[in-house]
């Protein structure tokens, strides 16, 4: 058996797998378009999710815009700020990025963000409270 050709065929089939439709999405997820709700979502909250490798990450967001991202034993500084009515912009190791947000219709505390640059989505849980943390160096926003 030519494994390479089989893999290419399988890859092509994989690529044509249908993603969920927008109509299906709207039944499950609600857009957040209120800057106050976004500010509350990020103020003294802890986000928990999994990365592309299925490894857990934890993000602590302070109301002052500072954030500590914990991953694989490392701590990574981030900052956040609300932009317009429906976005939160984050500065991190990977550079600045802005996200729109949706909350799950039936599961309290379950959210997902959508990167406005590429529409990539990440689902995560939000819990109240953050531990005390100090991070140096950190990022600052240009005024």
């Amino acid at each position: 058996m030519n494994l390479g050709r089989v893999a290419i065929l399988a890859s092509a089939l994989f690529a044509f797998s249908a993603p969920p439709t927008l109509a299906q999405d709207a039944k499950v997820w609600v857009d957040i378009k209120d800057p106050q709700e976004l500010r509350a979502l990020y103020s003294n909250k802890t986000f928990k999710g999994k990365d592309w490798m299925d490894r857990p990450w934890v993000g602590h967001y302070r109301a002052d815009g500072q954030r500590a991202m914990l991953f694989e034993g490392g701590r990574y500084p981030r900052t956040w700020q609300v932009k317009g009515d429906d976005q939160v912009c984050v500065k991190a190791l990977t550079g600045p990025a802005c996200y729109r947000f949706q909350r799950h219709r039936t599961k309290p505390g379950v959210y997902r963000n959508i990167n406005v640059a590429n529409n990539n989505m990440v689902e995560f849980m939000v819990e109240d409270g953050v531990p005390k943390f100090q991070l140096q160096p950190s990022f600052t926003w240009a005024t």
Binding site: A10, S11, W52, M53, E72, L93
Partner: protein, 127 residues
């Protein structure tokens, strides 16, 4: 039909991934070899821990995009150190060596342990 297609894809990749992976990177690829292998290309791989299949495109700009077979997409940055260690940054930084296997596949190490089997590498981005 969708389930059948999905099952076929998983079964095919599982057959490719079934051969064993080395325990440590004894002959890792060099900086030039890693860059030549992945830059502007898409790597089809299996996560050896959770068995999920995914494809990862390494853009020449240093950004990567990942599509998992559960439909989740992620993005971040990638770079290769002088000793051939491949690092990707998303939530945090993950680094490790790449080793070519005797069957033509590659093993991607993370933190010194085999983490992914790279099954095929194809030019461009097809997702």
């Amino acid at each position: 039909m969708g389930n059948l297609k999905h099952t076929l894809v998983i079964a095919t990749y599982a057959a490719l991934a079934a051969s064993s992976s080395p325990v440590s990177a004894e002959n890792p690829l060099s900086l030039a070899e890693v860059k030549t292998l992945i830059t502007a290309n898409t790597v089809y791989m299996q996560n050896l821990e959770n068995k999920l299949f995914l494809r990862m495109h390494y853009e020449p700009s240093g950004q990567f995009v990942v599509l998992r077979d559960d439909g989740a997409r992620y993005d971040g940055l990638w770079s290769v150190r002088a000793d051939g260690t491949l690092c990707v940054i998303a939530q945090g930084e993950i680094c490790g060596k790449i080793q070519k296997n005797s069957d033509g596949t590659y093993t991607r190490f993370v933190g010194g342990a085999p983490a992914f089997k790279w099954l095929t590498v194809t030019p461009g981005k097809d997702f």
